[in-house]
């Protein structure tokens, strides 16, 4: 359904007065999602992952420059096609309740999302009711304001705004942040259910354990680039993970070794070779020469000279 090849996002910043500086935040991002699949994108909290969602919706800030190929349903996703599909075939489940207008009742806002995704005025009330009952929200919740919703309810309303239409690609940006385990499990269950109906779900999160509960495939994202694409089952044993960063990430969980690392792996524009040389213990001369390409390994892919 979605195929991204070698995506890069650059930002121009003004340092002082009129001097400009360009920083490359995302480079070499590759991603593929098939219908009915939940693809999790895991990586450090911060710029990279959310930018992917924004790039897919065409809502990057003005000083951003995007390069690379994005194919949606086999055809290139040009800015014109993007603005036509946004909200209709590509929908975003917002991260927090602040995405809702605090002055409008939630029922009205879900109805508006339905209208914007192309549902006729006649069908909107039934669609909205159906969305609410699907997520186990009572009818009177539609008359409430956002501030009256509890964390779990808010999450369900936000999911409803994205799924009330006919979108085939659902982007979920940190859907479980700030939620307790039960509510998080529920929110993830909705995503799984959406995938099971044939939609493609892109789940962006920093929390591996959360992602693994429902994901089919996992893309590991670090220093602005894809370092590994693995199946969810690869995380069950330790030896199956291919890239040093993925192993370090898995190791860092409190349930595992709880070991962290100091050096943030940053991409500078003059990085030659693999950006992970400094923290990798398998590095040698070839690592300093060129940045490794993303190559296939088993049923996944990895960006390492030695995998």
């Amino acid at each position: 359904m979605l195929d991204i090849q070698d995506l890069s996002i650059r930002f121009t910043r003004y340092t002082f007065g009129l001097k400009k500086k360009e920083t490359c935040v995302v480079q070499g991002l590759d991603l593929s999602i098939a219908p009915g699949q939940v693809m999790a994108v895991i990586g450090q909290s911060g710029a990279g992952k959310s930018l992917l969602a924004h790039a897919l919706l065409g809502i990057l800030p003005r000083n951003a420059r995007v390069e690379g190929r994005i194919l949606f349903k086999g055809k290139p996703l040009t800015p014109e096609r993007l603005s036509a599909l946004r909200g209709r075939e590509i929908a975003l489940i917002p991260q927090s309740i602040t995405a809702l207008n605090p002055l409008l009742r939630v029922g009205v806002q879900v109805a508006r999302a339905a209208r914007l995704s192309g549902i006729s005025k006649k069908d909107t009330p039934t669609t909205v009711n159906r969305a609410f009952s699907r997520y186990l929200l009572q009818k009177e919740v539609a008359t409430w304001f956002p501030f009256q919703l509890s964390g779990g309810m808010a999450r369900r309303v936000l999911t409803a705004t994205a799924t009330v239409g006919m979108a085939d690609l659902i982007l979920a940006d940190e859907p479980t942040s700030g939620l307790d385990p039960t509510t998080a499990r529920e929110a993830l269950g909705h995503l799984r259910e959406l995938a099971d109906t044939g939609k493609a779900v892109l789940l962006i999160t920093h929390d591996i354990e959360t992602a693994l509960q429902v994901a089919d495939m996992v893309t590991v994202f670090c220093a602005g680039t894809t370092v590994e694409v693995a199946g969810a089952e690869d995380f069950k044993g330790f030896g199956q993970l291919r890239h040093p960063y993925t192993r370090a990430l898995w190791n860092a969980l409190p349930a595992n070794s709880f070991v962290g690392t100091m050096k943030p792996v940053e991409r500078t524009s003059n990085t030659i070779g693999c950006p992970f040389q400094s923290i990798c213990n398998k590095q040698d001369a070839t690592c300093g020469l060129s940045s490794p390409p993303l190559k296939h390994s088993g049923n996944g892919r990895v960006r390492c000279h030695h995998a």
Binding site: Q44, G178, L179, D180, T182, L249, A252, P254, G260
Partner: protein, 204 residues
């Protein structure tokens, strides 16, 4: 020792008590966890313990005396969202100087780079900003740190790293820590005991 006696709080006279008759103690050097689902009142309790909100009933005592009304408070609170805990118009350098003594060794321990000092908060990542907030909270007056979901927004590597440093500093200075988190694995790793007041689902 930081303790609360029969502490209770509610948001207004028409609302129900968020927590009532709550007694807890944290001794210096102790690492205590507080688990429970979100939205139940853990953050509010942390705010009352740190002096951000006045107690509805009961009291908060430190070393037998009530919390100071003015001047640096020995109980410091760290928030889940560091970007809300700093003035967005200030540069990072100024944020760090708001604490009584900005110390270079502490900055080095926390990995705070001099390049950051000239940046604005929205230009730092979540993990970097949280480390800045930590540095700000660790003045020499601080005796207790209340960490309210401090690393929930961070990836596993940054989380593990920040907790290693925090525990290290807490051990060196004999600080008491309260770790509020919904991640039971994390609490099991870090804490010697857990307060399960908010786990009780029959409360509400």
């Amino acid at each position: 020792m930081l303790e609360s006696r029969s502490l209770a709080y509610r948001y207004g006279r028409q609302r129900s008590w968020l927590f009532d008759d709550l007694d807890l103690q944290i001794t210096p050097g102790e690492i205590v966890g507080m688990s429970g689902p979100s939205g139940r009142g853990k953050s509010t309790l942390a705010k009352v313990l740190a002096g951000y909100l006045p107690a509805g009933r009961g009291s908060v005592m430190i070393g037998g005396r009530p919390l100071p009304v003015s001047g640096p408070c020995p109980v410091q609170l760290l928030f889940q969202h560091p970007e809300l805990a700093v003035n967005p118009r200030w540069k990072v350098g100024k944020i760090l100087q708001e604490a009584k003594e900005p110390t270079a060794p502490l900055h080095q321990d926390l990995g705070i780079e001099s390049a950051w000092l000239d940046r604005y908060p929205h230009e730092l990542s979540g993990g970097e900003l949280q480390r800045v907030c930590l540095a700000r909270a660790l003045s020499s007056d601080t005796r207790y740190l209340l960490c309210d979901e401090m690393t929930s927004m961070l990836d596993a590597l940054t989380q593990a790293h920040i907790w290693r440093i925090t525990l290290d500093i807490a051990r060196r200075r004999g600080l008491g820590l309260l770790v509020i988190s919904h991640d039971t694995n994390l609490i099991a790793r870090l804490c010697s005991r857990n307060i399960s007041y908010f786990e009780d689902t029959t409360m509400h």
